[in-house]
């Protein structure tokens, strides 16, 4: 028989969906800023494999020559991004929801088994509650990355007033590199996340909007009656 199984709290769903458009605006406005000094590339043994970013990419998204506008958007939405993050982290700590989220000792070993299962190499996935081991690691990592973006962001936004943050990030120059690399991390996370959500199916997706999953329970209740 069908039953409703509560899965995601309202706060988790709210902050998740609020974060999505805010982070999108942050990444977009970040690109408007980055364009003005787009020096990062991946070079191995003198050969450049990736240049961030090629001209066709900039032109496609209308990035060029909008530095001032990018900064103005970035320094407004940084507030929403940070406040939403504080709200989520605060709730997760106080409600105890972190117990279902933060990796456990066994998660590091189990995450491999989850990966092998997802790649159809292994038949059985380890038993799980709300999140499996790989999810625990990924979803905790993305929160840590978010905190990292705020800290590296402040380190390059006010490097004199928050000199200790800049020092913590390895200096102004390096803080900007981390800030950029974290953004690439979000994009990578997003791609994997969306693929996984599609594979996981409707019931899972619905739970991040409605809060519950529908499970079929063996009709034990009938005998009790």
């Amino acid at each position: 028989m069908k039953t409703i199984k509560e899965k995601h709290s309202l706060v988790m769903r709210w902050t998740h969906w609020v974060n999505f458009p805010i982070l999108t605006v942050m990444i977009w406005s970040g690109m408007l800023i980055y364009w003005a000094n787009d020096e990062y590339k991946i070079t191995i043994f003198g050969h450049t494999y990736v240049r961030f970013f090629p001209d066709w990419f900039y032109n496609l998204l209308h990035i060029p020559a909008r530095l001032a506008e990018g900064m103005a958007f970035h320094f407004l939405f940084m507030w929403f991004f940070t406040l939403n993050g504080i709200f989520y982290v605060g709730y997760t700590i106080i409600s105890g929801a972190w117990r279902e989220l933060v990796p456990q000792k066994k998660s590091w070993k189990e995450a491999w088994l989850v990966l092998l299962h997802d790649l159809h190499i292994r038949k059985m996935a380890p038993p799980q509650n709300k999140y499996n081991a790989a999810q625990r690691i990924a979803y905790t990592a993305i929160i840590v990355m978010g905190i990292g973006s705020v800290i590296t962001g402040l380190a390059i936004y006010k490097p004199v007033q928050f000199y200790y943050l800049t020092w913590l990030c390895g200096g102004y120059h390096f803080a900007r590199i981390i800030h950029f690399a974290l953004t690439l991390g979000y994009v990578f996370f997003f791609v994997v996340h969306v693929v996984q959500v599609i594979i996981a199916g409707w019931n899972n997706f619905r739970s991040v909007i409605s809060g519950f999953e529908v499970v079929n329970e063996k009709p034990k209740t009938a005998t009790k009656e």
């Binding site: 969906w17 000094n37 928050f162 900007r176």
Partner: protein, 262 residues
């Protein structure tokens, strides 16, 4: 007796399904409504009017308000005890990066150059470069930061703005909120809040890498203000004035944050 039992099972199943449908409907409707509202809000912001050109310009009105509010918030963290990191002279760049010469691209008439200081009394001081060089010199090797995102360790030498103020008795002027600086041709101009101008690392520089500043870098006297982005580091200073209102500012007129503090 058995009849109600038969009924309860389908009833509960139907009740559960009803609840599923109800909760789906409420949450998906809310989700859609909020999603559409968020998109509408975004479009409104994205197409919001550009401010009319005054002291600041070119920014969307709400975004300019946000920049000014953020300034007020982050000003709370400003302190003269927060110093920009300094480096040994050996780390300073030999080839110093230069972005623009706006306001300093005409021929420099070095012999007739004077620094004009407009006092609030109306009096105008005309100060020669030698008078400035006679004041105590401060060397500063720091990481110069451009609003574009690049940074470079540079070595500048000159007189602290606060020492300059002290020497010329400009204390009444420092009671005002802002300092304005302009190139002699008025082609480039910046406005600075008094706290940033009086920061112990703000200097009126006449040396770069231990030599007189070359013309492209702002000879004979330029502003070096490490608590601001490069856009505030005016080259070839012509006049200095004081005001309680924001003096006009070249890049703030073009959509950049007026404060631009680091």
């Amino acid at each position: 007796m058995s009849e109600p039992k038969k009924h309860t099972k389908p009833d509960t199943e139907a009740a559960v399904q009803k609840q599923i449908n109800r909760r789906n409907f409420i949450s998906f409707t809310t989700f859609t409504v909020l999603g559409v509202a968020a998109y509408g809000g975004w479009r409104k912001l994205y197409t919001s009017p550009i401010e009319t050109l005054g002291i600041t310009g070119e920014a969307h009105k709400p975004l300019r308000r946000a920049l000014n509010k953020s300034e007020l918030f982050f000003r709370n963290f400003f302190s003269n005890n927060h110093l920009v990191k300094t480096y040994p002279k050996s780390m300073a760049a030999k080839v110093v990066r230069k972005n623009t010469s706006i306001g300093a691209d005409s021929r420099l008439d070095a012999a007739n150059w004077r620094l004009q200081v407009k006092r609030i009394s109306g009096e105008v001081l005309n100060i020669t470069i030698d008078e400035i060089k006679a004041l105590p010199k401060t060397d500063l090797v720091f990481d110069f930061k451009c609003v574009e995102g690049w940074d470079q360790i540079q070595h500048w030498g000159g007189v602290r703005f606060s020492d300059f103020v002290e020497h010329f008795g400009l204390h009444p002027e420092t009671k005002l909120d802002y300092v304005g600086m302009e190139t002699p041709d008025k082609g480039y101009y910046v406005g600075l809040d008094m706290a940033s101008a009086m920061h112990p690392q703000t200097i009126l520089a006449y040396e770069m890498n231990g030599l007189p500043i070359p013309v492209p870098h702002g000879a004979p006297l330029r502003l070096i203000i490490p608590v601001k982005y490069g856009i505030k580091n005016l080259k070839r200073i012509g006049t200095i004035s004081f005001s309680n209102r924001r003096p006009h500012d070249y890049w703030a007129e073009q959509g950049y944050d007026y404060y631009s503090g680091l």
